[in-house]
Every structure is written in structure tokens, then in C-alpha cells.
Symmetry: C2
Subunit: 208 residues, 2 copies
């Protein structure tokens, strides 16, 4: 039984790794069969654990978002509040920039419980990173926590067409955005950050 | 004959307007039939003028990109070099933010002659806006002209999920990016801007 469980666990990991690889290379528009082939397991093995493609995509997205949430919580341990926010921004953008899956697939599984949980963990930690940096005077005070993931998504997309030819290009645009977040900002931000209600509405208008 | 020509011209405009509307609402993944219905003309009328969907998408994208190129050249007429760049950035982003077509369709028709022509016009004018603002000390000197459209695309995408619930959200992220472009930048940009060769390579890897 233990051997069977170990085999099942190993298969699960192989499927998730294969799915993450295929999604990262080509986006979420790939078949479960292709994932099974890449993982070297049968279609039935994948299908038993992930009866729908949404379930498979959600598992991959959740795994990736857990890394992002871990990075946000790890950054909170740093003494320097400005460095902590920059460190998180770099790690999160590096992960997204290498991986078409996170950006393109997330909208389709945004309501799945495991995905919601990791997003809430991340937003909670980012909220603390933002408040701390603002309290210490190293971050513009009109920034809201929800701005951070949206800005990082923008940075990822600015560089996305160059993923193959200059995979580090996102660093150039992240540096510009981080400079724009300093407390010496010239402008007051002209439009309010999205409210929780707007975030919910946007999620449904994208998913629907 | 003149009447016929006037009719044909009017039909062409109706088709382009209808196509732009449908693309703006729902992206380029719509059929020629749907565009014909919206324009109130027959399938054959659309098909005669635009024998492939690429031709139709290219015509719409070219029309939109001409507005962007016009905005860049108009901005060059302003006396204040900083205001000129900001003015162009706002107009270009406003157009993209309202219009899924430009962002999603451009990659598919990037090599079409009319599209290439408008892109080159825009990049030429943006190059002059950038150099002028740098010469006058109101723009960080390590910015390259090609960074401008990539940053604006990032701003558009940062706000894209909120298009329906807060169509002006892009203004918030544009303000942050523009603050990051001031000459009082904290960082030197850590990665070079894409070269012409990289831009060509990226175009082909996206289109292919």
C-alpha cells in the first residue's frame, strides 16, 4: 500500500510538472493527452486525478501561486522594507515572465478554492509589505496593495513578446515601475485603485 | 460611375467601422460574416474588398495605428517636451485601452505593409519626442524610443481586466510609469532595450 501510494504521489508530481512545462511553453490551450504523453503516464492516470481540464489547470496554477505567496511571506522577513518589496516584485515577475501559464491560465481558474487561497495569502502579505514600506517612507503613500500584482502583470506583458529573444527584458520595465513607486512621485494617482467589488466584477466579466 | 464609387467608398467605411467595433468588443476572433452583418452589407461585399481575414484585420489595425502615428506627430508640435511625451502617451494608451483589437490583432498582421508603415511613422515620431525630452532634461537618459510602446502596452494590460468596470484605470498605472521615467531615476536600467534585430526575431516568434 505504501509503495502504491508512493507511486501515485510520484505520478501526480510528474503530471503536474509536465502540465506546468507544457503550459509554460505554449499556454493553457493544450490537451490533457499531451500532458499525459509528456509525463509518460496514461491518459487514464491523468484523468482519474484531474477529471476536467479546469481541475488540471487549477492544480498547476495553484502550485505556481503558492511559490508567489511563499515569496511574499519570505520577503516580510527582510529588515529593509524597500528591499523587501523589490525582492518580492523581482521574484514574482521572474516567475510570471518565464511562464505563460500563470498569466493566461489564471483567469480561467480564478474561482477555484486552491487558487483563491493562494491569491488571498499573497494579497495579505503584499498588503503588509506595502504598508511597512509606506510607514518607513520608501514607497509612495497613494499606492494600494492591489496595484502591485496589476503593475507586475503589466511589466510581464510589456516584455512578453521578447520572452524568447531576451528573457530578462522584464527587469528593464520593472526598474522603471519601481522608480515610479518612490515617495518622490511627481503626480497624485488620478484614478482610484480597484475596489474589492470591482475586482469581483472584473473576475466574472473575464471568466464569463 | 461617380455614384457607384461613392457607394463603394461608403460601404468600405461601413465595413471598416463595423469590423473595428466588433474587434474592439470581442477581439479579432470573429468571422467575416459577423462583420458583414454588423455593417449591413452582404458577405460578398466584404469578401471582394478583403479576400482574407488577415486583409480585413490589417485594414482595421492600420486605421487605428494611423491615429496613433498622427497623435505622435501632433505631439511634436507642442512647445513643452515633457508635456508632448505625456500627451502622446495618454492618447495612445486611451486608444489601446478601449480597444482589444489593437493589442490582440496587431501581432497577426505585424508584417502587412500598411501596418509596417504606420508603425515606422510612430516610432520615428516617438524617437523625436524621446530625444527632445532627454535634451531638455525632463526624461531619464537611459530610455530608448522602443521602450515607449512596450511600456504603454504594459500599462494597457495592467488595467485590461478592469476595462468594463473602470475604463479609466490605465491612467493610474500610466501615472506611475511616467513618474518612473523622470530624470531623477534611482536606478540605471539593468537590461538593454530590444535591438532592431531582436524586435524582428520577436515579431516572427509571435506571429509564427
Amino acid at each position: 500500500v505504501t509503495q502504491l501510494r508512493a507511486d501515485a504521489q510520484r505520478n501526480l508530481e510528474r503530471v503536474l510538472d509536465a502540465a506546468a512545462e507544457v503550459f509554460a511553453e505554449r499556454g493553457a490551450d493544450v490537451s490533457v493527452d499531451e500532458v499525459a504523453r509528456r509525463a509518460g503516464v496514461g491518459h487514464a492516470t491523468v484523468f482519474r486525478r484531474f477529471p476536467t481540464k479546469v481541475a488540471l489547470v487549477a492544480a498547476v496554477v495553484e502550485q505556481r501561486m503558492r511559490i508567489v505567496a511563499d515569496a511574499a511571506e519570505a520577503a516580510l522577513e527582510l529588515d529593509d522594507a524597500g528591499a523587501a518589496l523589490r525582492e518580492f516584485a523581482e521574484e514574482a515577475t521572474a516567475l510570471h515572465a518565464a511562464d505563460r501559464c500563470l498569466v493566461e491560465a489564471t483567469a480561467f481558474v480564478a474561482g477555484e478554492p486552491g487558487v483563491v487561497e493562494q491569491r488571498e495569502r499573497t494579497l495579505d502579505a503584499v498588503g503588509r509589505l506595502v504598508r511597512r514600506a509606506q510607514d518607513e517612507g520608501v514607497l509612495r503613500t497613494d499606492l494600494e496593495p492591489i496595484d502591485v500584482p496589476l503593475l507586475l502583470m503589466g511589466v510581464t506583458r510589456a516584455a512578453a513578446n521578447f520572452r524568447a529573444v531576451e528573457p530578462e527584458l522584464w527587469r528593464r520595465y520593472l526598474a522603471i515601475v519601481l522608480d515610479g513607486l518612490r515617495p518622490q512621485a511627481a503626480s497624485s494617482l488620478p484614478v482610484a485603485a480597484p475596489t474589492l467589488e470591482q475586482i469581483e466584477l472584473a473576475r466574472h466579466s473575464v471568466a464569463g
